[in-house]
């Protein structure tokens, strides 16, 4: 019994001594991730047939819609689209993809210029896009349409 009490007292005094002398300093850290945002800031219709109407919507966002008609065989519309990096980070890896669906064979073709490899924060790049109606086409292709999407993707980080 006496041995146990002595042990407890020794342990208690040891614990108190352990906690007695400390000093604390602090490191206050603020960290924030950057942003990467690509938007279409404008466009220019470079060329189009005189009888054609071209409508572009969605400027100021990351998705625009181009509607053009009527096409005769061999017609094409060329549009320059300006894309800006409004984020705080550079887009160090850029890519684009084109997909479209013709409602009559391969009546239309959608193509886009080469996207640069990188785009710094605040910088813009202009990409030329072309919509072409194939030629020759049979009368059966009259009234045919195409739905297409051009996707520009930028990324940063590992």
């Amino acid at each position: 019994m006496l041995t146990a009490i002595v042990f407890v007292v020794l342990v208690s005094s040891g614990a108190l001594a352990w906690a007695q002398f400390t000093s604390t300093i602090t490191e206050s850290v603020s960290a924030s991730a950057g942003t990467l945002t690509l938007i279409v800031t404008g466009y220019t219709i470079v060329s189009e047939p005189s009888y054609m109407t071209v409508l572009v919507t969605g400027v100021g966002s990351n998705a625009i819609t181009i509607t053009a008609s009527p096409f005769a065989p061999g017609d094409s519309v060329v549009i320059d689209v300006t894309i800006k990096n409004t984020g705080t980070l550079p887009a160090t890896s850029l890519g684009d993809g084109v997909s479209y669906t013709n409602k009559y064979d391969s009546t239309f073709m959608l193509s886009t210029g080469t996207f640069p490899g990188s785009l710094a924060s605040g910088n813009s790049v202009t990409i030329t896009q072309t919509i072409t109606c194939e030629s020759p086409l049979p009368n059966a292709a009259e009234g045919a349409s195409m739905n297409g999407t051009i996707t520009f993707t930028g990324s940063v980080g590992t």
Binding site: T22, S23, T24, I25, S28, S30, G34, T88, S121, T158
Partner: protein, 161 residues
């Protein structure tokens, strides 16, 4: 009556002798005084020197500043996934006791934090370091983390040994 007087005299003589002896005992004394002064030691740590901060990418910005002897304020911004900031700093012991350092932080998610402070022994009135702290936005961070601001505290505790 005469008998009583004789008895009284007989009793007083030994008493007088005892008093003489007693006074004789008290006469010759000597004492010494031991004055003891004990002072507990002190253990205090502070940041010292000029901290530095470097970044894994050129588009990152930030600073590392000692805003008070016990506070190191670090700001780092514009992280992309995989980016990191590295802070270098020193700690000085201003007390009279040596100690050992430990570190805790309150969770910087989605960032991660690491340093090499824990387990370091710091001597009396000596400077320890350079210590290196790394703040990382892991590669697994996604679009949900874009622009994410995080403020967290790293507590470095020194314990006298």
């Amino acid at each position: 009556m005469k008998m009583n007087k004789k008895l009284m005299t007989t009793m007083l003589i030994p008493l007088a002798l005892m008093l003489v002896v007693a006074f004789g005992y008290a006469q010759f004394t000597s004492q010494i005084t031991e004055t003891v002064t004990a002072t507990a030691g002190s253990f205090d740590i502070e940041f010292t020197g000029t901290p530095t901060i470097t970044f894994s990418s050129g588009y990152m910005t930030g600073s590392a500043t000692i805003t008070s002897p016990t506070t190191l304020t670090v700001t780092a911004s514009n992280f992309a996934p995989g980016d990191y900031a590295t802070v270098t700093f020193y700690i000085i012991s201003t007390g009279t006791l040596p100690g050992v350092l430990s570190e805790t932080n309150n969770g910087p998610s989605p960032f991660t934090y690491s340093d090499n402070v824990a387990g370091t022994t710091i001597g009396i009135t000596s400077t320890a370091g350079p210590f290196t702290a790394t703040i990382t936005l892991p590669s697994g961070a996604g679009n949900v983390d874009q622009g994410a601001p995080v403020t967290f505290t790293v507590t470095i505790t020194g314990t006298a040994t």
